[in-house]
């Protein structure tokens, strides 16, 4: 299957990835080969077959709506790349 560099660029944008020219060309070829391989699924008639999203069939798992302690601000922020007080700091969103 043929995957163009333009398609690779579009998918990279959706995935929030920035690829070098070399990576774009490499991925175009490799994605083409892998997607070509998965085309074989089309050989199978799956009319009327239900899709499986989980191996174990289960209903919603409910729990009591009870109060319990959380990990706390300091622990939650301990890995923050940047912070101000009890907040994560990120680049400006709105100009």
């Amino acid at each position: 299957m043929n995957i163009s560099v333009a398609v690779v660029e579009h998918v990279a944008r959706l995935a929030r990835l920035e690829l070098s020219e070399e990576e774009k060309n490499l991925f175009a070829g490799q994605m083409g080969a892998i997607l070509g391989y998965v085309e074989k699924l089309r050989e199978l008639d799956t009319e009327g077959v239900l899709p499986t999203s989980h191996a174990v069939p289960m209903e919603n798992a409910f729990r009591e709506d009870a109060e319990c302690p959380s990990i706390g601000i300091e622990k939650a922020l301990a890995n923050a790349p940047d912070r101000v007080g009890s907040f994560y700091r990120v680049p400006k969103v709105i100009e």
Binding site: V7, V8, V11, A12, L14, A15, R16, L17, E18, L19, E23, F27, Q30, M31, A33, I34, L35, Y37, V38, K40, L41, R42, L44, T46, V49, L50, P51, T52, S53, H54, A55, V56, M58, A61, R63, I71, K75, A76, A78, N79, A80, P81, D82, Y88, V90, P91, K92, V93
Partner: protein, 485 residues
């Protein structure tokens, strides 16, 4: 060397009789790790201080007569398990400085039993790989032949057991990541049924397929570890609330009348002749033990790899969206705005295989392709599950090879991802079906490499595969073979 070779149950007897202490055991293991690490590279982080503190606590517990079979046993964890206060990288640069604020349930459970933590083990980045070559922390080398891969993604977990750097280890298995490295390194690897062990605090790759399991020296240890890990966890809504049996009690040594299925789709032409020979010999051993063989078919086997690489990559692209440089992990410097920060942080932090799978998954989920790829794969998954349901009407266990060949050479498949993906052809269907399976040593190739045998069980049929594996182990001596390192 003696302490290093012990299984959990052997070491337990010696700790119990006070012949050795847990601190002595931990020191011996740490010295071993230091001496062989330059050749193997199983560890990303070694935790000597933690190990000695754990060992001292274990010795106090033993002195107080409060020990259980895991107290004082030196273990190591794949670096995918969150360990509060101990760096957890998942094999990725993007988590290079990540110190988790809480621990995985499986680690909490082992800690309660008084185990000793030696460190965090090398793995393919985000568990994406079959050779451990995608780790950002270097390729692990197979202790049986250091020019070869140990398997993946739990390559460090298997190599550490084989190189006698830990008594047992934990891994995770999404498409074969416990069984395939166990096979390539000559140890016992168990992938429990989906939902048997909590996934809480295990960094997610493909959430409908990921499962936690042990890598050990023998089947008895595998049963001990599963007993410690299994059970419902309110923190994992997909963990199943069924009673945990006494897995050790299942190891009766007798399998007379056990019906073993041989799926014709797994004994194919491309199978390495040494692997084929080992399977034939194993079948003969089982026959002598009183098992009955049934020829079966799992007709959709040939579609499993394609199905897996759509479902797993789709789930991965969604799971890995959380790595955006905001709350933890790598953040790129000098980004022009928020979107640029996300993009740059991810592009700098992720390696090539992770990017490739995120790209494939994003493509499969994108507008216009969702039904043709993702939903189609979910439907074929249903057919693959039905194959197993039908087969298990006639048999108790299914016997197959774990991998089509013994461990391949480092670098051999790096340039061709599709060939790499096809090396998981015999392990992937089990994850799609959500059932349990294990790899046990069953031979040595002409070039001196271990060959594993896969036993697949019914959902929640771990007792049966453990019993079958144990009976084989009693009748053969493959599990006593050791890598010379």
């Amino acid at each position: 060397m003696d302490i290093l070779d012990q299984s959990i149950h052997e070491l337990h007897q010696r700790l119990k009789s006070k012949e050795i202490s847990s601190v002595e055991t931990a020191r011996a293991m740490l010295a071993r790790i230091e001496s062989v690490e330059p050749q193997i590279g199983s560890f990303i982080t070694v935790t000597p201080e933690q190990a000695l503190a754990d060992a001292e606590a274990a010795d106090r517990r033993i002195a107080a007569g409060q020990m259980d079979v895991l107290t004082g046993i030196p273990l190591a964890l794949k670096d995918i398990f969150l360990t509060e206060g101990i760096r957890t990288t998942c094999g990725s640069r993007i988590l290079d400085n990540f110190v988790p604020p809480y621990s995985a349930t499986s680690w909490e459970k082992l800690k309660e039993r008084g185990v000793v933590l030696l460190g965090k083990l090398n793995q393919d980045e985000f568990a994406m790989g079959s050779s451990n070559e995608s780790s950002a922390y270097g390729t692990v080398r197979n202790p049986w032949d250091t020019d070869r891969i140990p398997g993946g993604s739990s390559g460090g977990s298997a190599a550490a057991v084989a190189a006698r750097q830990a008594t047992a280890t934990l891994g995770t298995d999404t498409g074969g990541s416990i069984r395939q490295p166990a096979s390539h390194c000559g140890c016992v690897g168990l992938k429990p049924t989906y939902g048997r062990v909590s996934r809480y605090g295990v960094i997610a790759y493909a959430s409908s397929l990921d499962q936690v399991g042990p890598l050990t020296r023998d089947v008895t240890d595998s049963a001990i570890m599963l007993g410690a890990l299994a059970g419902h966890d309110p923190k994992d809504s997909t963990s199943v609330n069924t009673p945990v049996p006494d897995y050790s009690a299942a190891l009766t040594g007798t399998i007379k009348g056990l019906r073993i299925g041989l799926p014709r789709e797994y004994f194919i032409e491309g199978l390495d002749p040494d692997v084929h020979k080992a399977m034939d010999a194993a079948i003969e051993s089982y026959r002598r033990l009183g098992a009955e063989f049934v020829d079966i078919s799992l007709p959709h086997t040939d579609y499993a790899v394609a199905t897996y690489y759509l479902i797993a990559t789709a789930e991965a692209s969604s799971n890995l969206a959380r790595y955006d440089g905001v709350r933890f992990g790598h953040r790129a410097e000098g980004a022009a705005g928020l979107l640029d920060m996300y993009t740059k942080s991810r592009s700098e932090g992720f390696g090539a295989e992770v990017k490739r799978r995120i790209m494939l998954g994003t493509y499969a989920l994108s507008s216009g392709y969702y039904d043709a790829y993702y939903v189609k794969a979910q439907k074929v998954r249903t057919l693959i599950m039905q194959d197993f349901i039908c087969a298990f009407e006639a048999v108790d266990v299914i016997l197959t090879p774990v991998a089509p060949t013994p461990a391949f050479k480092i670098g051999e498949k790096v340039a061709d991802p599709l060939q790499m993906y096809l090396s998981d052809i015999f392990t992937i269907p089990v994850n799609l079906a959500g059932t349990c399976a294990m790899s046990i040593p069953a031979g040595i190739s002409a070039s001196g490499l271990p060959i594993g045998l896969q036993l697949i069980g019914k959902p929640f049929g771990e007792e049966t595969i453990l019993r079958a594996a144990h009976a084989f182990e009693q009748a053969t001596e493959w599990h006593t073979r050791k890598a010379v390192i």
